[in-house]
């Protein structure tokens, strides 16, 4: 594990748990990390490319890790999405920073 990496646990849509390392120096977001490890099939996640304009990268936050506050566009998108829970976030809006080390998330169902 690189010094610049953080450790994240991702539960895929089949319920399988993956422990992955993600670089903090590549301006990546959580949706991109999920795609880079191919934990959800291409075309079913990150459809809008990360603009908070679809909800294909929705995930449930399972730890109390402190995350950047939700912006208006993310909140609005989630208000129209399906399978939304109180702990829903769009993973494309969560940047990979040292602060999120230890984060655990579950990818929401496809809709």
């Amino acid at each position: 594990m690189d010094d610049l990496d953080v450790n994240i646990t991702i539960i895929d849509r089949d319920g399988v748990k993956h422990n992955v390392n993600a670089p903090t120096d590549m301006a990546m977001n959580l949706m991109e990390v999920i795609r880079s490890y191919e934990l959800a099939p291409e075309g079913t996640i990150g459809i809008c490319g990360g603009m908070a304009m679809c909800a294909s990268c929705q995930c449930y936050i399972l730890t109390d890790t402190e995350l950047p506050e939700m912006q208006d566009d993310e909140e609005a998108m989630l208000s129209e999405a399906f399978y939304v829970k109180d702990n829903s976030r769009l993973s494309c809006q969560i940047p990979i920073t040292p602060e999120i080390d230890g984060l655990e998330v579950e990818i929401a169902p496809e809709s």
Partner: protein
């Protein structure tokens, strides 16, 4: 029957640029797109977003890119079948194809180029078990003929611009309009939000928030919906129509059943040569295809479109000689009789 040289499925940037490249080879194109306007995602999802990786454009809005691509290919007079989804393909004995849309429009050409991006945009359906039983029997996911709602009770669900705009429009047409949204806030143009507020105050729109439609009921056709407000018991509202407007999501759709090799929700192509699929004569270019090292970038789609056109030329004109020509040298001869060319250099001796 519409006949052309290349049927292009998908009128996004890759499809539009293919029209230009085909035109240079004197091949005519006809585009089919499920959306009502050309531009694909650039027009539908993010027209106001800037793109920074189009060569020679340090910054260009997605909507402007569409306009410029249309302008660039204009003299090659592409045909358009818009608002219709390519449904089936049939290969004839002479090797040509007939592509038929969901509305029955038929197109015939020796070459098909699928430039379908992420697929065709389909309305997102709310998660209500039996909702399919009432589709077109009171439940519609998009409003095609507003007159259908005249003097009818209509329930609209959603919080975006289309939910707001249609609620406003139907307030003067329908017997009653009920707008249901999961939140108190709406994500729409300020004008629209204010107008809905005004119509609500006048009693012309019945606004129910934060709430969701949780069930649909009726005998053979929709008769009522169940509305559940947050932390309250569900209530039943009689209605003739229920229009859920939750945006569009792309689906590969019927193309997936054309016998093409599919991998990772994309069409496998031969990237060593010409982006042809496993069916000779059918190509896939842009975001819709996949091959080792594929990058879903507009600029890669442009490259793929160019190579596809050269291969299409060989299929359409077997054995006919051709070498790549530069537009700087040869100019551009449009099918509309126009000609673009570099001005001739002035040659004059110094006396």
């Amino acid at each position: 029957m519409i006949t052309t040289d290349i049927i292009i499925i998908g009128a996004g940037p890759t499809g539009l640029f293919a029209v230009f490249e085909a035109g240079l080879l004197k091949l005519k194109c006809h585009l089919i797109d499920a959306l009502p306007q050309p531009g694909g995602q650039c027009s539908e999802i993010y027209p106001k977003k800037p793109i920074y990786d189009i060569p020679a454009y340090p910054e260009i809005l997605a909507g402007d890119l569409t306009d410029k691509l249309l302008e660039q290919c204009k003299q090659f007079q592409p045909g358009f079948t818009l608002g219709e989804r390519a449904e089936t393909v049939e290969k004839l004995e002479d090797g040509s194809f007939i592509v038929t849309t969901n509305k029955g429009t038929k197109h015939k050409a020796p070459v098909v180029a699928i430039a379908g991006g992420l697929g065709s945009f389909e309305p997102r359906k709310p998660l209500i078990d039996n909702i399919v039983d009432y589709e077109d029997k009171g439940v519609e996911y998009m409003i095609k003929e507003p007159e259908m709602y005249r003097d009818k009770a209509v329930v609209i669900a959603g919080g975006g611009d289309s939910a707001l705009d249609w609620s406003i429009f139907l307030a003067d047409v329908a017997k009653s309009v009920t707008l249901v949204h999961r939140r108190n806030e709406f994500r729409g143009h300020l004008d629209s939000v204010e107008k809905v507020q005004e119509l609500k105050n006048e009693g012309k729109i019945n606004l129910i928030t934060p709430a969701e439609i949780t069930a649909v009921n009726g005998n053979g056709k929709l008769e009522s919906v169940e509305i559940t407000k947050k932390d309250e018991a569900p209530m039943t509202l009689e209605t003739d129509h229920f229009v859920p407007l939750f945006g569009l999501s792309p689906k590969l759709g019927p193309i997936a059943n054309w016998g093409l090799e599919i991998e990772k929700n994309a069409i496998k192509v031969n990237n060593a040569l010409d982006y042809q699929t496993n069916i000779p004569g059918i190509f896939a270019i842009g975001d819709v295809n996949t091959y080792p090292g594929k990058l879903k970038l507009i600029l890669c789609g442009f490259h793929e479109a160019t190579l596809m056109c050269q291969a299409a030329y060989q299929i359409i004109n077997p054995g006919k000689r051709y070498v790549l020509k530069y537009t700087t040298v040869s100019g551009v001869d449009g099918f509309d009789g126009t000609r673009k060319e570099a001005p001739k250099a002035v040659v004059k001796a110094i006396e």
